[in-house]
């Protein structure tokens, strides 16, 4: 029997606002324990929440960028449960009436294009962190750090439209890129600003009803999501083929062992008793506000990939790499504009130095200048790499470094003639062997010229001049 998988992904994205969602504490990462707290986010008796407008803006823009319908009226609800990292013993979230519904993201995976539905987008607050005291399992206590409490989160739930782990990965990457483009989230799975849980089930191919699904948690990278999905799909198929039934449960991904582990029995059935939060009135978002925010949506990754590959004739794979960051794509296009040439060369260069570009450590004209200098033979390929590394390190313009360090190579044939003549004159035996047929000796001569010029000669030009002179 052939099976197909049905996958839905639930993403929690930390919003890059300055302050928290319901209080003016810094929403920053990495402070000392309980440094970024106040009576409101620590749930002191008598405190009340006040909504951060920017968090709403970020969510509206995300909704627009994913073609969702922004609801004019949405309601904050309390999700009630007890845990030491949840100070009010309820999380303010949205339940029956979320901010946005019914959108989609288009992805490419395994050579096919697919449209993945988005069920809903809503706002909620993050919880704190519980650290287990002592490195050993016998520790009797846990320590609560509430810094992260009330950092704004946006929950994005996909329809169960994904069918393979690759599609899952593609969806996540595309969604992350969209959020980073909009500058609403820094999209870092390892640091926890972009988190993913998965719902997975399998069914015989062709069947309409969904099978029983398991919820997967604890996947902290895109690759781990794909691996976890792969494993879980195989596991479920195995269970069914063995005559068993898949149980509805939560399973944790164990990256070291490469398996999902059941949490059943450890997690009690939660009755969250959702009800509208009486401390927050309904969220009203009017059409005028939505329209105004619509104007701030930049060209999105999907559009950019298509446009870069068609306009510059570069492979789609390269266009996707370039589009993974707006800054990278912008530098690419600006570099091509500054110096015509073959965009593929510029693309390769941008991709090679991607890390430095997206972290803002590469002065903007660097790529354009080194590509141009290489094309004109002003610098060698080796020098190019060195120059870029130095530009990153010092922040200086690359042509300035080139001149300071004297890394221009001599490409003028005329200038090299004298040296070539000298080398030929100084190595009569080799000249004779070469002329007798030992073509491999050409590299010896090239080497000699390079030595003589202390590496500054353009080897290609040297070769041509040598060949001409040796005939």
């Amino acid at each position: 029997m052939a099976f197909e998988a049905v996958i839905g992904l639930e993403v929690h994205a930390q919003l890059a606002t300055g302050s928290k969602i319901f209080c003016p504490c810094p929403a920053k990462f990495g402070a000392a324990p309980n440094e970024n707290t106040c009576p409101v986010c620590t749930g002191m008796p008598g405190v009340l929440p006040v909504l951060n407008r920017r968090a709403v803006e970020f969510a509206i823009r995300t909704a627009l960028a994913t073609s969702c319908k922004v609801q004019e009226r949405s309601v904050f609800a309390r999700k009630n449960y007890f845990y030491p990292d949840l100070p009010k013993a309820y999380q303010i979230s949205q339940y029956e009436l979320p901010l946005a519904v019914c959108g989609h993201i288009d992805i490419e995976a395994n050579g096919t294009s697919r449209r993945i539905g988005i069920t809903r987008i809503h706002l909620e607050e993050d919880a704190g962190k519980l650290v287990h005291a002592g490195a050993f399992a016998g520790a009797q206590t846990s320590l609560a750090d509430l810094n992260r409490c009330s950092v704004p989160l946006m929950e994005i739930v996909s329809e169960p439209d994904l069918r393979t782990p690759e599609e899952g990965g593609a969806y996540l990457r595309r969604l992350r890129d969209i959020l980073v483009y909009l500058e609403v989230c820094d999209g870092n799975m390892e640091e926890g600003s972009f988190r993913c849980d998965a719902n997975v089930s399998v069914r015989p191919k062709g069947r309409k009803e969904f099978g029983t699904r398991a919820e997967l948690k604890n996947m902290n990278s895109f690759r781990n999501v794909e691996k976890a999905l792969e494993h879980e799909i195989r596991r479920q198929i195995g269970v069914i083929e063995d005559g068993g039934a898949v149980v509805q449960e939560t399973r944790l991904w164990d990256a070291d062992a490469g398996v999902t582990v059941s949490m059943r029995g450890k997690e009690e059935a939660h009755d969250y008793r959702y009800f509208p939060d009486p401390d927050l009135l309904p969220l009203h978002v009017d059409a005028a506000w939505v329209e105004e925010l619509g104007k701030t949506i930049p060209e999105l990754p999907g559009e950019k990939v298509a446009r870069l590959s068609s306009r510059y004739g570069i492979p789609r794979y390269d266009a996707e790499l370039l589009s993974s960051s707006r800054m990278l794509a912008d530098i690419f296009e600006a570099s091509v504009a500054a110096f015509g040439g073959n965009p593929k060369v510029t693309a390769n260069e941008c991709i090679q130095w991607k890390e430095a570009i997206v972290t803002g450590r590469l002065p903007p004209e660097t790529i354009a200048h080194v590509v141009e200098d290489r094309e004109t033979g002003t610098i060698s390929a080796t020098a190019s790499k060195t120059l870029v590394e130095m530009a990153i390190e010092t922040g200086k313009p690359v042509r300035q470094i080139r001149d300071e360090k004297g890394l221009t190579q001599v490409s003028d044939a005329g200038a090299l003639e004298a040296i070539v003549t000298k080398i030929i004159a100084g190595n009569p035996k080799e000249v004779e062997s070469y002329r007798a047929g030992k073509a491999g000796l050409l590299s010896f001569f090239v080497g000699q010229v390079m030595k003589e010029t202390r590496g500054k000669a353009n080897p290609r030009v040297v070769q041509e001049v040598l060949k001409a002179k040796l005939e």
Binding site: P24, T37, C38, N52, F76, T141, L281, H284
Partner: protein, 96 residues
């Protein structure tokens, strides 16, 4: 309207309330009569009535995204029943 002992214990667990056996019995009796009384609402036809989910009919107000650190960490920690440096300390969750 009877509420069973089972239900009382379930609700008490959901609410994290440890009740003595005597309390459970009393709660069963008192909750039962209160719940019976409030079922009187069933007599009312409320089809088509919009629920009042909020006391006021206006949209929630906003605050600007400006950072104002509270800056008094010790005030936040001073009432902690148990603490380790600047953390709140609690017993571990027992996994059974």
């Amino acid at each position: 309207m009877a509420i069973t002992r089972e239900e009382v214990l379930q609700v008490a667990r959901l609410a994290r309330l440890a009740l003595s056996p005597a309390e459970v019995d009393k709660m069963k009796e008192q909750l039962g009569s209160i719940l019976s009384y409030i079922r009187q609402l069933d007599r009312l036809d409320t089809s088509g009535v919009v629920p009042t989910s909020h006391a006021i009919e206006m949209g929630t107000p906003f605050r600007d995204d400006s950072v104002e650190p509270f800056g008094q960490k010790e005030e936040i920690l001073k009432n902690a029943p148990d603490r380790e440096e600047d953390f709140f300390r609690v017993p571990r969750i027992i996994e059974d």
